[in-house]
């Protein structure tokens, strides 16, 4: 028994251990969650082994696992990298394996074992998988296994962004709120994990052959394996001991050394944490400090109004938020009669129903005189209960905050999943900061963390109040936070210090990532904080410490949205004399029978997946539609939308069959805008020019497996699909040239393309599996030099078997330049018409600023239509930019597409027309926009204009965009109103 081998796998959330005997047979295995108490639990496991195998004094031991490195280092134990360990065990135990997919608590790995051996791990951006499933399960209020069981019964799968956990979450939430069926949501969650793994990790290599599934999630959830099988078109295997492959590989490792078991156990037990991690000051030094703090907030946060004696009329406000449902009933004076704060278990309807039922029971003599809904579930709740009004949540929060601090000039709300902050200027919402999908999830993140440590959220937060050295976790997206915490654990931080550190990081995230404030003065003088997350004293204290200013936290910090809605209902109801609220009465509540089903709309090629909520008695609420058509015969009124117009202009460039051959142009990035140029050029020379189809999700998936960098922008990722589509179309050439430079439009200091646009053809040529004999033309072309272009192009064409005379090429080039100029002219003309028309009709105008390829509906997800649905006119930046001159900026203005945006911003800033506003579209991962967004914001704000930015990615949900736009239009209305009053 002397030659036992022990492998210890310390994962991000679990601890796994195996013992192999001399023959390599597994004689013992153990699996346990470690709740961050790694050393303690490891010692326990080894003690058990010592008892089971008393003769074994000096086994060979090796540690592995993502959280094991620190422990191995400090205890001088051999360490084997975990992916490598998996490789060792798979090579021995499953000799025929081609590919291993291993999902862990927070890691995802793909290992190609046959042929060229390659290993892939998820990057720092692709969020966890096991932890992600846990988080989603808790969001739906089921256990992870229940989630997997639910998924088995699904009828349809929704599109959920697969890049990182946080993104997926912001897709799922609206589905839940709109009443999508749980089994469907569950299946969609697992499918998202599959897509995330394949898209993020295959990186240009196909997963095929004998596929092995390892790790916790794949072992425990048969449905997840099924989803992988389905997506990969194969049947993978999940071997016995599938949880232990890392541990087995560690045990088998050449690095394993004989070690005294007693000694190791003693070292593990004695090991003192180093405690030399980055840390901040304690939240509270003494109990007295904490009491003083509590007293101050108690006073400032209490509503001054007392319930009136006359309770004949009441007002209802409901805030159906992302993770919680809040409801308030108040009397005429604003005093709260009844309140409810409940976790949103997936369907807010029963929660609100029970609230209203209780209200009618407790206040039988009070009449509901007005009601309003806000939040993600606004439309659903409004429809279900016939509430009178709906309002955007920013407005609701402002109204509520004003009743605590009449002079309020800054409100910050940290909810379960989002951060909302806004400035108030002259009684109107002035500037809104919402967290982009990448840093959201703050409150619920704390909760999930508490869960991982086996504590309730309240207990967990409370732990940190007196922590002596709170971990400094910085301010970053929550997915990164997990690994920061891992690092802190490695450095020996206590749970208390991690708790305090997380509270601080939520605050920092809000301040530096969302608001990007250089100091407290940038916020305001009278700050009101609210939202469920601020109910934690730790978070509140961290906030005051960070900005070095005292703030007001209303006692009903978690209910502010609902309270604001109730106030709004009261104000609106009192505007018209004799207003009668239509809110469902007791009978209506009893009759309410809420069922949900889904269907596909077949009225247009979008085939929107509709969720149909049926409330009984013929009342329905339909969601998931991108346009109005699904809602009935109602014909949408005429819209003025240059995104559509530009697409139409481009659609006019049709193929013209020819014997000379067909040139395929991928219809995305810069090639989209340059279609007139290249179409004219090649058509003139007698070639047939075709484009790949318009982008959609299926097209994206066609090329998904060849994307080498998972953090590049979505428009670039789509190019892989476009090129695959052209290959399938069997064209003769695919024309996708590299272009360092764009046209010089004299609006910048230089006229570059951004590096991705300039060189993406290189990525395509290097990563496309098989061009199937099609000549891929990715030569470097300089359209910025009109005189040299035909000469250079002539040579490039000859290289690819397109032999033409230089004279013809010159003529074609001349025509191409003219065609492009004509195209630009048409755009400019259309812009002029729209501006004129809008002025005449008094319609608001939104200059929707982005790159030319943002007109692709798969990229903009219909934000243009959302804007027109608010009755505004959409004009593009390139319709405006030709009117402007180059002006000095505070940045280097060197990219053609971005110069247009600066010019458009200049137009808006220098026009005195408050009905013309700018909205900037930003692709997630666009490094260049880190510069342009700041500059455009300051250009507009220097002239007191509102800056609105919308980040877009693979997510097709418009929730955040809708809040932003509605808030913008509300703010503009308020501005106009106060201007009228002032006049």
């Amino acid at each position: 028994m002397s030659q036992l081998r022990i492998g210890l796998d310390v994962g991000s959330t679990t601890l796994k251990c195996v013992v192999l005997d001399q023959q390599g047979e597994i004689v013992y295995e153990a699996y346990e969650r470690h709740y961050a108490r790694i050393r303690e639990k490891s010692a326990q496991m080894l003690r058990t082994i010592r008892e089971r195998f008393p003769d074994c004094k000096e086994p060979r031991i090796c540690v592995s696992g993502s959280a094991g490195m620190g422990m191995a280092e400090s205890l001088r134990m051999p360490f084997e990298q975990e992916v490598y360990a998996t490789r060792t065990s798979v090579a021995r135990l499953i000799p025929g394996a081609d590919c291993v997919i291993e999902l862990g608590g927070e890691d995802a790995k793909i290992l190609f074992v046959s042929g060229m051996i390659e290993v892939r791990m998820n990057g720092s951006c692709a969020g966890g998988t096991g932890a992600f499933i846990d988080q989603m399960a808790s969001l739906l209020n089921v256990t992870p296994s229940e989630l997997a069981e639910l998924a088995e019964q699904h009828k349809q799968v929704y599109q959920i962004a697969s890049r990182c956990g946080v993104f997926a979450k912001s897709d799922i939430q609206p589905l839940i709120n709109q009443g999508a069926q749980l089994p469907d949501v569950a299946a969609s969650i697992f499918m998202a994990v599959v897509h995330q793994t394949i898209a993020g990790l295959s990186q240009g290599r196909r997963i095929e052959g004998n596929v092995v599934y390892l790790g916790g999630p794949l072992s425990y959830f048969p449905y997840l394996r099924k989803a992988f099988d389905q997506e990969l078109h194969l049947t993978g295997i999940c071997p016995e001991h599938s949880l232990y492959y890392v541990a087995i590989g560690a045990a088998m490792s050449e690095l394993a050394e004989p070690m005294q078991l007693d000694q190791i156990i003693a070292r593990l037990t004695d090991a003192q944490a180093r405690g030399d991690y980055k840390h901040g000051a304690p939240l509270f030094a003494t109990q007295e400090d904490y009491q003083a703090f509590q007293k101050r907030h108690n006073e400032a946060g209490t509503l001054k109004t007392k319930p009136s004696a006359n309770l004949s009329r009441a007002f209802i406000g409901v805030d159906a938020g992302s993770t919680t449902v809040k409801a308030v009933a108040m009397d005429e004076s604003g005093a709260i009669l009844m309140q409810r704060y409940l976790p949103n278990t997936g369907n807010p309807v029963p929660l609100v129903r029970s609230f209203l039922t209780d209200f009618y029971r407790d206040y039988p003599n009070t009449r509901i005189a007005g009601s309003a809904a806000t939040g993600y579930g606004e439309d659903l709740i409004k429809a279900a209960f016939h509430l009178d009004f709906g309002l955007v949540e920013t407005m609701a929060h402002f109204l509520a905050a004003r009743s605590f601090e009449p002079q309020v000039d800054f409100i910050i709300d940290i909810g379960g999943q989002d951060i909302k902050c806004f400035k108030i200027k002259q009684g109107a919402i002035d500037n809104i900061f919402l967290n982009e999908a990448c840093s959201s999830g703050c409150g619920s993140f704390l909760q999930t963390f508490a869960g991982a440590m086996d504590l309730s959220a309240a207990e967990f937060a409370q732990l940190g109040l007196f922590a002596d050295k709170p971990v400094d976790l910085g301010s970053r997206c929550t997915v990164f936070m997990n690994s920061s915490v891992k690092q802190a654990q490695k450095d020996g931080a206590s749970v208390e210090n991690i708790s305090a550190g997380l509270s601080m990081s939520v605050v920092k995230n809000a301040l530096y990532k969302v608001i990007r404030a250089p100091g407290p003065d940038g916020l305001g003088q009278h700050i009101v904080v609210q939202g469920g997350t601020f109910l934690s004293d730790a978070v509140l204290r961290a906030f005051e410490m960070e900005i070095d200013r005292e703030v007001v936290r209303p006692k009903i910090a978690g209910l502010m949205g609902a309270y604001g809605a109730a106030l709004y209902a009261r104000d609106q109801a009192s505007r018209s004399a004799g207003f009668m609220s239509a809110t469902l009465d007791t009978e209506g509540l009893t009759a309410l029978a809420h069922t949900v089903k889904s269907a596909n709309c077949n009225l247009c090629p979008n085939h929107c997946r509709l969720t149909i909520n049926d409330f009984g008695g013929g009342r329905r609420y339909i969601s998931g539609n991108r346009c109005e058509r699904a809602l009935g015969a109602k014909q949408a009124s005429a819209t003025y939308n240059m995104f559509l117009d530009k697409r139409e202009l481009l659609n006019a460039y049709k193929p013209q069959p020819s014997v000379k051959g067909t040139i395929g142009i991928p219809y995305g990035l810069n090639m989209l805008e340059l279609l007139p140029f290249w179409h004219k050029f090649f058509t003139q020379l007698g070639y047939n020019v075709v484009t790949s189809p318009e982008s959609d999700r299926d097209l994206y998936q066609l090329g998904q497996h060849t994307i080498p960098s998972d953090t590049v922008c979505y428009p670039a990722k789509l190019m892989h699909g476009h090129v695959e589509a052209l290959i399938d179309m069997k064209v003769d050439w695919i024309f996708y040239p590299c272009m360092s430079y764009n046209f010089n439009e004299n609006l910048g200091d230089n006229h570059y393309n951004c590096p991705v646009v300039a060189y993406y053809p290189e990525v395509i040529q290097a990563n496309t599996e098989d061009f199937k004999g099609i000549d891929f033309i990715d030569d470097y072309v300089g359209i910025h030099r009109e005189a040299d272009f035909p000469i250079k192009m002539h040579a490039i064409m000859a290289k690819h078997g397109m032999v033409e005379s230089l004279k013809d090429v010159k003529l074609a080039a001349q025509n191409a330049y003219q065609e492009q100029a004509l195209f630009r002219q048409r755009i400019e003309q259309r812009g002029d018409e729209y501006l004129k028309m809008a002025k005449a009709k008094g319609m608001p105008v939104i200059i929707l600023c982005g790159r030319p390829y943002h007109i692709d509906p798969e990229i903009n997800h219909g934000i243009d239509q959302l804007i027109t649905s608010f009755g505004a006119v959409v004009v593009t930046e390139d319709a405006i930019s030709p009117k402007m001159q180059l002006k000095p900026l505070a940045v280097l203005n060197q990219w053609t597409y971005h110069s247009r945006m600066y010019a458009a911003a200049d137009y808006v800033a220098s026009s005195n027309d408050l009905s013309i506003n700018l909205v900037q579209l930003v692709s997630f991962g666009c490094g260049v926009d880190a510069i342009t967004t700041d500059e455009i914001r300051s250009m507009l704000e220097s002239k007191d204009r509102i800056y609105t930015q919308i980040k877009i990615d693979e997510i097709s949900n418009l929730g955040a965009a809708r809040i932003r736009l509605r808030s913008l239009f509300t703010a503009l209305d308020m501005q106009a109103e106060s201007a009228e009053k002032g006049a």
Binding site: M69, D472, G474, F480, K490, P755, A766, A890, I931
Partner: protein
Amino acid sequence: MDNQRPRVEFTKEMKDQGYLILAPAMAPIHFELIANALASYGYRVELLRNSGPQIADIGLKYVHNDTCYPALLCIGQFIDALQSGNYDLNKTALMITQTGGGCRASNYIHLLRKALERAEMGHVPVISLNLSGLESNSGFSLTLSMIRKALAAIIYGDALMLLKNQVKPYEQNLGESDALVTRWTNELVDQFDRGQGYSGHATRKQLNEIVASFDAIPVTDKLLPKVGIVGEIYVKYSPLANNDLEQFLYEQGCETMVPGLLQFMLFKVDNRLEDIKLYGGTRLKQTMFEAAMRYLGRSERMLIDALNKSNRFVAPSPYDKLKSMVDGVIGYGCKMGEGWLLTAEMIELTHLGYPNIVCGQPFGCLPNHIVGKGMIRKIRNLHEEANIVAVDYDPGATRVNQENRIKLMLSVAREGMHKTHGRPMQEAMETEEDTTLSPQLSTTY
């Protein structure tokens, strides 16, 4: 913020008043020499050595959080220094390089100015160090002799860096090569002060002496995995940005190769010629850049010749050869950021016996989507032994994650080394014994 605020120039008066110029220390050895080269022209230059977690925090506070990590760190480091109270804010200027390429790095200087404005230090002048004529200052101008001295500093820096990396892991007496780097740095600084040491003749002679001095360090003949470092230029060289990557690899028992700065200079000049070739341009420009290429090429030759004087050292490939390595892999027009050079360096490292490569990039670095991550598959198709790990560096990426990924690459590296060089006897025997392990293959569904 007022967008039209005029740029604060670094005036001649400021120079005469002895303003202290602060500059980042990107590549520690090189920049030390360059800073001292400038000192001999009457500029008081100090390289920033401040480090610590607050640098990134300050960066996050004053720069857009999605800006690349190098900008965040450089700017954080500047502001941290200015806020430290160690400098007279009315007698301090900052200096930062500006390439003028299509990558957002050309905007660092503007982001720095915006950050200074926010930190209420907008009056501190910022000098752009560029060869593209982007900005000028009456108090600072690059003269031909300054450029020559700086170039000599780069060549010496490359030599010292390459030699140190090739000797240090094998030292019999720990610390000898680091000490030698310090000795030579001091010696060269002295020479620059005296206006010596940078002529072609002197450089050639001195390079030979440097090589000989490293050759004299007694070493062991142990077999170590050989690891190359490539990446976005700041992340590649700066210990502040890459979490002291060279040191980490040293501690893991590796020999490292960090391709030098000189080839980056050659690359940047050559880009101008490629532009003319691809898109057209004037003869005059072409002649000018060709002359510059010849000058740099001679310098490179000196470096390579000196290293080849000893059979112990691996010399970098000549630029033309380097360039030919990416023929058919990526186009020469790909010039933004590190451009095709980064791809070429990965291939070169594989050729030179450093097939294990860390490719470091700031999170969201646009050119690296193309020339780094975008080319790995193609490189691996051409060179099966290439063992490349792409590592993201940014304020949120933790060291433990980065090191874990690098360790995976090192495991594969050690395996590759065993394959090529065989395994120590004892280990091989133990593996024999283990082959009795029986496959336990079964499926659960």
